[in-house]
Symmetry: C2
Subunit: 350 residues, 2 copies
């Protein structure tokens, strides 16, 4: 038997009891891909932690397996979440597999096409509301208080417990923590979870160092950077289009403890990095993920890196989740008559 999922692999570090059911979609165990081209240009050891290769295409599976395991352990028959898409896909998949009802609240205009397809295919009851993510989160929190339905948003403490395993995997792979960890910040759960993971590994003697955290928010959805709630967040990076992050305090604390920094990146720079990551490294990640590469490029310009540092960019979701954004970036080809001559003419065009 090979890999058996996150709960079995990292049991020692997770809130698992004898009664926790052995559930898995074989989430986690995602590749840490070494940069081929950009590393050389930037003069750093650049890696991409590609969590888009989780079973539902995003890092959310790491936390969801833990949250659903605990929900089942506690006898719950239904789960609910508010989601810009990745959380709902993950919740719906685990619910399908373990026979729970699943309700997902999708805020108005905030969901990428692939993510909606996932939630529906996995059989969740998808409820689309007029309002933003924060409105949706308020409603599901209310419902979980009064109904026998488990809330699986990242306010569910088991979510961050599961998510911290990504930090373990990075360290297992490198044999140490990286010098810098660049990470998208939306609801701010993941940066908090990574920090928890690095610290637990250090306390356990698995690593001797801790990374400096580099958080990035989209300019139009940068509440932590601006230190104020954003009422109407706007960004093409829908996965981090959040104006009032649930794990705000935890993220600020992690940034402080790691001597890190958090910066805002424009949609234009996010889209540039999105194309660069695919066309230079062969990695297709969703726009929100690519903010980490955009951010690292920006900090390189500012002289933050001296050279030779190990930098890990967290890529939280698969580019296939959002084909619409990519197709809007590049013109689709015109159809031509099927002859060798016609094809050669196009090949010889520069």
């Amino acid at each position: 038997m090979g890999y058996q999922g996150l709960i079995k692999k990292y049991k020692k570090y997770l809130p698992v009891t004898e009664k926790t059911p052995d559930i898995t979609l074989l989430e986690g165990d995602t590749p840490l891909i070494k940069s081929t081209n950009l590393s050389k240009e930037l003069g750093i050891n650049l890696y991409f932690k590609y969590d888009g290769l989780n079973p539902t295409g995003s890092f959310k599976d790491r936390g969801m397996v833990m949250a659903v395991a605990k929900a089942v352990e506690e006898g719950s028959k239904a789960i609910i979440c508010a989601s810009t898409g990745n959380t709902s896909a993950s919740a719906a998949a685990f619910a399908a597999r373990y026979n729970l009802d699943c309700y997902v609240l999708i805020p108005d205009g905030n969901i990428a096409m692939g993510k909606l397809a996932q939630a529906l295919m996995y059989g969740a009851k998808v409820i689309s509301i007029e309002g933003n993510f924060d409105d949706a989160l308020n409603i599901v929190r209310d419902i979980a208080k009064t109904e026998p339905i488990t809330l699986v948003n990242s306010v569910n403490p088991y979510r961050l417990q599961g998510q911290k395993t990504a930090a373990f995997e990075v360290c297992d792979e490198l044999g140490k923590a990286p010098d810098y960890l660049a990470i998208p910040v939306g609801n701010a759960g993941n940066i908090s979870a990574y920090w928890m993971g690095f610290n637990e590994y250090k306390n356990d003697g698995k690593i001797n160092n801790l990374p400096t955290l580099l958080g990035f928010q989209a300019e139009g959805a940068a509440p932590i950077v601006k230190n104020e709630v954003v009422k109407d967040p706007q960004t093409i990076a829908t996965a981090i289009k959040i104006g009032n992050p649930a794990s705000w305090d935890k993220a600020v604390n992690a940034l402080k403890e790691s001597n890190g920094q958090i910066n805002a990146i424009s949609d234009e720079k996010i889209l540039e990095a999105y194309k660069m990551l695919a066309s230079r490294e062969g990695i297709f990640a969703e726009p929100a993920s690519c903010i980490t590469l955009a951010g690292v490029l920006n900090l390189k310009e500012k002289g933050v890196f001296k050279g030779g540092e190990t930098v890990v960019c967290v890529l939280t979701g698969n580019g296939l989740k959002d084909p619409t954004t990519s197709l809007s970036q590049i013109p689709t080809p015109q159809k031509i008559k099927a002859t060798k001559e016609n094809v050669m003419k196009l090949i010889n065009e520069k």
Copy 2:
């Protein structure tokens, strides 16, 4: 250091020389997911080899890493392929990463949205032609004969060499070959590659048994089942919409040697299995992949399985590649006003 890609892991079995460059996108190493619900109902040990979790979302990365490594070894600066989408995505990704030019010919109306987005984002020159896959393949074969451009379709022998690693992984995981391997058949390269892999592992003493192969073609694109070329293949499963398979003879031979069988499955049954796989097992695969589950259900009805057999369904591609087909299957939800009462009303509806 953990996993370092297929070429390093299975070097012994691959046509690798000292000059073969060490290239990888960390392809392969995909999960073999045990069925939670359908296994019980069918009375078999059902597994899904989910190759949709390769870096570009399909099994094509296994063969492409090998084909591109050899192209680079031979000094090639450009690669070309005809593709219904998965091959082009994979070729484009490796070309981006290793600085080759990449040209992909896409047949008319044969490509899923996500796959087109991938090829374009990875920076390939995408050429859309009037004609079907077989027309496109003829043109790229012609071009590769006269131009300094390496053909990376599965007629490139290194492709099947790389693809056979999926059989190795299944055996490594189970500690044996499964009793049955169910696999989609389009261009017929993959069934041939799996059979080669199982045989090499058996000859090397890694396994003692060989599986019975169960091949499946879509009813409207079933040349091997019908034993005649299909001039105008039609199916919703675009990845296997092929009327004149390149590896036809190899596939027929593999089926014969394994005492296997090949059957045609209707689009209706493919779509049923597509929804069933997502909503009962939490696995979202592209329609062509789901033909294996549809086929296993069909053979169960026919009494092929006695009970207790280990059956592996090969899932070749990620469901996110084709969001359009999934969204056409399930009505998208209407937006409602954001109140707890409105949401509870929908939750309580059955």
